[in-house]
């Protein structure tokens, strides 16, 4: 056993010492693997950041009520009578004053200008009632104040204000030939709500000619399980053609399309590139074996086993790939982690999110790198182990 380990160490040392002879080719392999890992991790951290921003926005004990088949808030219409019926529904928590904890809301989109590109983009403008902010986790005004009911005042989500022009505190913006003043900036625990503009519901209803109707109703449930009761209640009333789901489920579904798409693009691209760099790794390792043919044969002639030649070659390949993987992960971390981007969400409006690199994703990247190293080293290692001694000595 000890002897085998010593043999392996000796062969590995020889391999690594001869590495400078193949410096450029080895370096090419390292960088190729690094680029593969960078591409993979860039896509995965983008998908992850997008999914977390949206999916983490939803709470289990908040119900979202939409018109059936609407899929997203922007399509939905919930009529005045339906709102009333929902408010009276079972499973909805009531405040100290006995009022149901619900918020009928409008969800409109308005134009804004993206700072980074200067292009027009659709931003969500949400009209909500006094209970609305309380139905969301961690909503705090970070600058200015809350809008006053009945006025043309808006408050702007922190992330939206950073990405889009013209929504600084104290500025006025024009929608529908009316002027609105930005009176506050709010944070919402990094959730998707930070990509929204909020205004008073009745004001929006009248200015956008939607008097009486809303698009969604949010309601605090007495418990997450109460969603079933509320759904059963809605399904059994022919006046309510509505979809009832938990806010968590709603956002999970909103996030899945886009983040799935990003992942579905990222993995095949990374795997294709990995195959390309695998070809490079094989090339490098075959050259390595060829370059060391004499050394390997000499060692074999004095009694070293084929196994040590095998392991020595494999280790060289794995080391090169691992270096590449670490470089790739580091590059992704430095360049992309925390990178802010925005894209169109399921409601045709912009969602601001950050790329998020997690240890789990880094692990996936390194695994891919090591897979390239493993397969890139395996066949050359077999060749090294099986090489006829005589050919190596006199070839």
């Amino acid at each position: 056993m000890r002897s085998i380990i010593l043999q392996i160490l000796a062969v590995t040392a020889i391999n690594l010492k001869s590495l400078p002879q193949r410096l450029w080719l080895s370096l090419a392999t390292v960088i190729a693997v690094g680029l593969v890992v960078t591409v993979l991790l860039a896509f995965l951290s983008m998908a992850n950041g997008f999914r977390r921003t949206i999916a983490d926005s939803g709470a289990e004990d908040i119900a979202v009520v939409l018109r059936s088949g609407a899929v997203s808030e922007i399509n939905s219409v919930v009529l005045r009578d339906q709102v009333r019926l929902i408010e009276d529904g079972p499973g909805i928590a009531r405040g100290p004053d006995g009022k149901p904890q619900t918020s009928g809301e409008l969800y409109l989109t308005v134009n804004g200008i993206k700072r980074s590109t200067g292009t027009k983009a659709s931003l969500p403008l949400r009209g909500l009632g006094p209970l609305g902010p309380g139905l969301r986790r961690g909503v705090v005004i970070t600058a200015g104040r809350m809008f006053n009911p009945g006025t043309n005042e808006i408050i702007v989500g922190r992330a939206l204000g950073k990405e889009f022009e013209g929504f600084e505190l104290g500025q006025t913006v024009t929608f529908n030939s009316t002027r609105w003043s930005v009176v506050g900036i709010f944070a919402a625990d990094g959730s998707v709500f930070e990509s929204e503009i909020w205004a008073d519901l009745p004001v929006l209803q009248s200015l956008f000619k939607r008097a009486g109707s809303v698009q969604t109703v949010r309601a605090r449930l007495t418990s997450p399980a109460a969603i079933e009761t509320l759904r059963a209640y809605s399904d059994n009333d022919p006046r309510l053609k509505l979809d009832v789901m938990s806010e968590a489920a709603y956002f999970a579904q909103q996030a899945s399309n886009t983040s799935d798409l990003i992942q579905k693009l990222g993995w095949p691209l990374a795997i294709a590139m990995a195959l390309g760099s695998l070809a490079g790794a094989l090339n490098t390792m075959y050259s390595s074996v060829a370059a060391r043919a004499t050394e390997i044969a000499t060692l074999r002639a004095i009694g070293f086993g084929g196994f040590s030649a095998f392991v020595g070659t494999l280790v060289e390949s794995l080391i090169l790939a691992a270096i590449g993987g670490v470089i790739g992960a580091a590059a992704t971390y430095l360049v992309f982690d925390g990178f802010t981007a925005s894209t169109m969400g399921a409601s045709f409006s912009q969602v601001v999110f950050n790329f998020q690199l997690t240890p789990r994703l880094i692990g996936q990247g390194l695994l891919l790198a090591l897979a390239v190293g493993l397969f890139g080293g395996l066949f050359p290692a077999l060749r090294a182990a099986r090489m006829p001694i005589v050919a190596g000595l006199y070839g």
């Binding site: 960078t38 059936s68 609407a70 308005v110 929608f175 053609k241 195959l275």
Partner: protein
């Protein structure tokens, strides 16, 4: 035998090595062709739009409506040659995830305006104008759902409902149409506005936007000013834009796809440049002695340079052309599943041509250093001291 035979024999001297390099080149060019086509298809809206086409949208956002009365008022403006209106139906077939791109339009004028993009048979044209409950369905949508002309199909809306409270409309497919230009997407359904407007329970007399063609590009500016000026300070202010600019801005909302494509393609090419470039240098270095012999036989430096470059270009073509084949296969495969997202996805001929050009450039780049080394090789040193 000729030089090409010599080049080929040199290239395949180490078969495994040559094949490995070809595989990595194949992958890089497949990535290039797929992503470039993807980006092109993604921006197809911009490519399709001729400069004389304008869209009139609600100034707040394109999702906000406009009154139908604007249709006639804009049509009367001097410089407007053809015009139609659109209403977004938000359709789905059976299940919400079976999205159907459907619009309510003024049938006659819509077909006139879209004559440059689509081919309408005289029967389909007449039937669509005649039948109030009829819909016109593009060829790809017909194919996707296996529909035929004459079928009755229930299409639900995720937005609208009928006065009866139902979310579904029953339509008869009265005709189909095909694309006149490759960028035109036929995965769409058109219905008559009158029937739609009468049956819906709210939003009456509101449309989504207007699309028009001006008498000449020179008139664009004037028409835009006239339209937006006419509705300024009204409850429904408009913003009029060229269709190209609107498509571009819409595509840009998804993010900077072009940049992502460039970065990935760049990464793939850097990878193979390094792998293939280094391998070529190594290959030629191994062949030093033989090059010395060729020179001794009287082969000139220039001819040797051409032979090494020929080898690297041949390698790039042998890897790259199958890569284009793979790209074509992939694109045809994913075409239907991405139909809603990038309708005009196909391997565009100019992208394929650019890829072939890139292969030659790639071959020259990877072969240049070893070719120059070989050209300059001193015979006496090359033959060594044996």
């Amino acid at each position: 035998m000729n030089d090409l035979v010599l080049i080929r024999k040199n290239l395949f001297r180490r078969k495994l090595r040559a094949i490995l390099m070809m595989v990595s080149i194949l992958i890089a060019f497949a990535i290039f062709a797929v992503l470039a086509s993807f980006e092109r298809a993604f921006n197809a809206g911009q490519d399709r739009a001729t400069p004389d086409r304008l869209v009139v949208l609600n100034k707040i956002n394109f999702t906000q409506p406009l009154p139908i009365s604007y249709y006639n008022r804009v049509a009367a403006i001097d410089g407007v040659a053809q015009i139609t209106h659109f209403s977004w139906f938000g359709g789905y077939y059976q299940e919400p995830r079976n999205f159907i791109a459907a619009f309510a339009v003024d049938p006659e004028n819509w077909m006139k305006l879209r004559d440059t993009d689509f081919v309408f048979s005289p029967e389909a044209r007449a039937a669509f104008i005649r039948e109030r409950t009829g819909v016109l369905v593009g060829a790809r949508m017909m194919e996707k759902w296996g529909w035929k002309v004459g079928d009755h199909i229930p299409i639900s809306s995720s937005i609208w409902s009928q006065k009866s409270g139902s979310h579904a409309w029953d339509f008869i497919i009265v005709g189909s149409f095909t694309a006149r230009i490759p960028q035109a997407d036929t995965n769409v359904m058109l219905m008559g506005y009158d029937y739609f407007n009468e049956t819906r329970s709210f939003g009456k007399d509101l449309i989504s936007w207007l699309a028009l063609r001006t008498t000449s590009v020179a008139a664009n500016e004037r028409v835009i000013e006239a339209i937006d000026g006419m509705f300024a300070n009204s409850p429904y202010e408009t913003t009029t834009d060229s269709e190209k600019a609107f498509s571009k801005a819409f595509a840009a909302q998804l993010g900077n796809i072009a940049l992502i494509v460039e970065l990935v393609v760049g990464a793939a090419f850097v990878t193979i440049l390094m792998i293939v470039g280094n391998t070529m240098v190594m290959t030629v270095r191994e062949r030093t002695r033989e090059i010395g012999v060729l020179k001794t036989l009287g082969f000139s430096g220039g001819r040797i340079l051409r032979m090494v470059l020929g080898e690297s270009i041949l390698l790039a073509l042998l890897g790259g052309l199958p890569g284009l084949g793979v790209a074509l296969l992939l694109i045809t495969k994913v075409r239907d599943s991405l139909m809603n997202f990038v309708p005009a996805l196909s391997l565009y001929p100019d992208i394929a041509a650019a890829a072939v050009g890139l292969m030659v450039v790639f071959g020259i780049i990877t072969g240049l250093v070893p070719a120059l080394n070989a050209m300059r090789l001193n015979i006496v040193t090359a033959l060594g001291r044996s």
